[in-house]
């Protein structure tokens, strides 16, 4: 007979709210459905219940009892995220799980108990299945969801076991309740018939027959029940006997993780939103940790007031779970272009938000014994994401040479260093061969991007030689503002060298290059654009 574990979160709308706003946990808080005076309380914290607040009351009635009662409306985004988080907790233990309703998840516990070892001496409440239950409770607590656990051979028995789990292990957690294999019918027998949740007409019929408990119903002959109550009755009878009429329906895990919230008050400024975004991203990060994955793509959807939506997306250079990095990306993007900036309606406020993270595998790490220490993929991913956030994706990467001759050209590819060599290579010592002979110690060119426009005086030379620059001075215009100043008499000039590129295209480049040494200002590489006759400096020998 198969074994099933039921992970149940009582007062699920409240638990989902408290997961998003954990600071409200000790307060008198009620979660309501509906608006204004018609708002009905659907769940309340223990503090509120102690003061007389019950479900079904209107918010006005509850506030008459507890004037300082905090109230939050039901939040669909919060509840969906909490439901996903609950399913992910179950998936940590078993690949076969079924989401049966809000705050209710079943998982196939067949063979799982063997992984858990009770302490010695074993007691009635310290079996491997009890240990499994405790591990489930601990995982749920870590995810911010106060859950209860029941383990039995059928869904109904497991669910009832979870609902009736009592006795405290630690804090607010009830101890897991385990129904021994084959004991399901006896466990269910004393329970009232209403636990089976029969259809109305079927329930009325059974009441007329004088059946009050599940046990009474289970004792009826199966064939007689089928002939009198039909297929619905037969299914209910099977459940009453502690047998599942249908097998577990495993869910397909969703590709993306979502976290968000519908805000009670629309937010006009960015800071309070970022505070909430941090909490949401932190929850995403913890869910990714459960799966052992990182966030490769992050999307944000904002619902704006009075109307409109705003959507953003970020491609991460490598999967990461670092909340700070993700938040920095969001902050920089929203600061650069505030929500609704393009809106014609003027000031807008954020009414709801939803983060969607596309998970991917983090890069594996392989250390070496004798080579240089390898970079931690997780840390590298975080660093790259921070640099992306700080500088923009077009300004971070690994450089590559590009075909062509223009010095200002460049190519960037994502930085993904190869694995560290197994043995540290020897580095040539500086004292060894002279630079020119070894190919090291080479004079480099510091490229000026974009080139600095120049004013150049040229002096005619003999008929067989090109006129050479004699004095250069950077132009005093807006583009040269805050750029290095180049000015001075030319001591030595060498050139010109022709550079021609893209003559076949509609943007051909033809330049005459000179190397010039100024009296006191250094060595420069300058050129004259053949088409326009303008002079520019595009490099400094340095």
């Amino acid at each position: 007979m198969s074994r099933l574990a039921c992970l149940l979160v009582p007062l699920f709308p409240l638990a989902a709210r408290l997961r998003a706003e954990p600071e409200l946990a000790g307060e008198a808080l009620a979660v309501t459905a509906g608006n204004g005076a018609a708002a009905l309380i659907v769940a309340a914290t223990r503090s509120a219940r102690r003061l007389g607040v019950t479900t079904g009351m209107t918010l006005t009635q509850a506030r008459a009892l507890v004037p300082k009662l905090a109230a939050r409306n039901r939040d669909g985004a919060c509840e969906r995220a909490a439901q996903e988080a609950l399913a992910e907790i179950a998936e940590r233990f078993s690949p076969r799980i079924e989401t049966a309703g809000p705050g209710l998840v079943f998982l196939d516990a067949d063979g799982l108990a063997g992984r858990f070892h009770p302490g010695s001496p074993p007691t009635q409440n310290s079996t491997p299945e009890h240990e499994l239950g405790r591990a489930l409770l601990a995982a749920a607590r870590h995810a911010g969801l106060p859950a209860r656990v029941g383990i039995a051979g059928s869904k109904l028995a497991a669910q009832v076991a979870a609902q009736t789990a009592t006795g405290s292990d630690a804090g607010d957690d009830a101890a897991p309740r385990v129904v021994a294999a084959g004991d399901e019918a006896r466990f269910l027998a004393p329970l009232p018939l209403a636990r089976l949740a029969p259809e109305l007409r079927l329930g009325e019929t059974l009441t007329r027959w004088g059946i009050r408990s599940i046990g009474d119903f289970a004792r009826l002959p199966a064939a007689e029940v089928v002939s009198r109550l039909g297929p619905a009755g037969a299914e209910l009878h099977t459940v009453a006997r502690g047998v599942d009429p249908r097998p577990l329906l495993p869910r397909e895990p969703p590709l993306d993780l979502t976290e968000g919230s519908e805000l009670e008050w629309p937010l006009v400024t960015l800071e309070p939103f970022l505070f909430l975004a941090h909490a949401a991203l932190d929850r995403i990060s913890r869910r990714l940790e459960i799966r052992g994955l990182g966030c490769a793509h992050l999307a944000l959807e904002l619902t704006l007031e009075p109307a409109g939506h705003d959507a953003r997306a970020w491609e991460l250079p490598a999967p990461t779970r670092d909340t700070k990095t993700l938040l920095t990306l969001v902050r920089l993007a929203l600061e650069a272009r505030p929500p609704g900036a393009a809106s014609a309606e003027g000031a807008v406020a954020i009414a709801a938000f939803l983060f969607t993270a596309t998970p991917d595998r983090t890069r594996p790490e392989q250390g070496t014994l004798f080579g240089p220490p390898a970079l931690s993929p997780e840390r590298l991913a975080t660093t790259l994401a921070r640099l992306f956030a700080l500088l923009g994706p077009d300004r971070v990467g690994s450089p590559r040479p590009v075909d062509g001759h223009r010095p200002e050209r460049l190519a960037l590819v994502p930085f993904a260093p190869p694995a560290a060599p197994m043995i540290l290579k020897r580095v040539p010592r500086a004292a060894t061969p002279p630079p020119s002979a070894s190919g090291k110690g080479l004079l480099a060119v510091r490229t000026l991007r974009p080139p600095i426009e120049l004013e150049v005086l040229v002096e005619p030379r003999p008929a067989d030689r090109e006129p050479a620059p004699t004095h250069i001075q950077s132009l005093a215009n807006e583009s040269n503002d805050k750029r290095p100043t180049i000015a001075g008499a030319v001591r030595i000039a060498a050139g010109p060298w022709q550079l021609e590129e893209g003559w076949w295209s509609d943007r051909p480049v033809a330049r005459e290059y000179w190397d010039v040494e100024l009296d006191a200002a250094g060595l420069f590489r300058i050129y004259r654009d053949v088409a326009t006759g303008r002079w520019s400096a595009d490099g400094v020998y340095d």
Binding site: G371, P372, P373, L375, R379, T383, L384, L387, L390, L391, R395, V396, G397, S398, P399, R400, P401, V402, G404, P407, E408, R409, L410, A411, L412, F415, A416, P417, P418, K425, V427, P428, R429, A430, P434, P435, S436, S438, K440, G441, L442, L443, A444, V445, R446, T447, L448, R449, K482, P484, I492, A493, A494, E517, G522, L523, G539, V540, Y541, D542
Partner: protein
């Protein structure tokens, strides 16, 4: 020594004074005391310094640049500062280490820098627009565990000033914490007391080939590398630097 203890009439300072002489004669270091007591002293393993292919530097800093510290290299235009930076990167990446170049001046041209021998796959290139961004990017690179981070501040004027002194101290501390070498190359001193080693490059003459009617060609440049600040450095030391233009 036994006599010193055997004289109870003497006050304690006098006893200590009597002890100091014979002890100083017998022991010159704590290591010897440990040897007398039979206690083994294990040196804390100091990280190996960065070997570089920098001409002249090996004679100034035997072994190379110190890991876990901030090294500042200052130089004016055409003094070979960028060439030294590229050589450092080439030495690190060709040895299988990863490195970051925080390039404030956006000065790297991969095509012309290819002869330096940098393994591009191991180089992270970040191109900030201002000093503030450059410092933040440097800190991010250090935190990311890159063993060599080279911050090139480009040519003056520096966009955004020299950066706050506290930030440089923070970067030096980050380099120590992550056992990384942080090299700052700038036109003038910026890191102040945060730099544990300071090198200055001064420009010499450019070398040209060809004279008279023959076409002139730039052949290279000479400079002088001076170590002005380092541990246990009593006076500045200098070495000639000779750089050639790639063929």
């Amino acid at each position: 020594m036994a006599e010193a203890f055997a004289t109870p009439a003497l006050p304690l300072p006098a006893v200590l004074q009597r002890l100091a002489g014979p002890l100083a004669a017998r022991l010159r270091s704590g290591r010897e005391l440990a040897a007398l007591q039979g206690v083994a002293i294990h040196d804390t393993p100091r990280p190996a310094p960065w070997s570089t292919a920098l001409p002249g530097l090996a004679r100034l800093l035997p072994g190379g640049l110190p890991r876990g510290e901030l090294v500042e290299l200052t130089a004016g235009r055409s003094s070979g500062r960028f060439a030294c930076a590229l050589m450092l990167l080439a030495a690190a990446t060709s040895a299988g280490e990863n490195a970051a170049l925080i390039d404030l001046g956006d000065a790297l041209d991969p095509q012309s820098a290819a002869p330096a021998g940098i393994d591009w796959t191991r180089l992270l290139w970040a191109r900030p627009r201002a000093v503030r961004e450059a410092l933040a990017a440097t800190e991010a690179a250090l935190t990311g565990g890159l063993p060599l981070v080279l911050l090139d501040l480009g040519l003056p004027p520096l966009p955004g000033g020299r950066g706050a002194e506290a930030m440089w101290l923070r970067l030096a501390r980050s380099a120590r914490q992550h056992d990384a070498l942080l090299v700052v190359t700038s036109p003038y001193r910026v890191a102040g007391p945060a730099a544990s080693t300071v090198l200055e490059l001064t420009r010499g003459h450019a070398r040209w080939s060809g004279a008279g009617a023959a076409p002139r060609l730039l052949a290279g440049a000479d400079g002088r590398l001076t170590l002005t600040k380092a541990h246990r450095l009593l006076a500045p030391q200098a070495q000639a630097l000779r750089l050639a233009l790639p063929a």
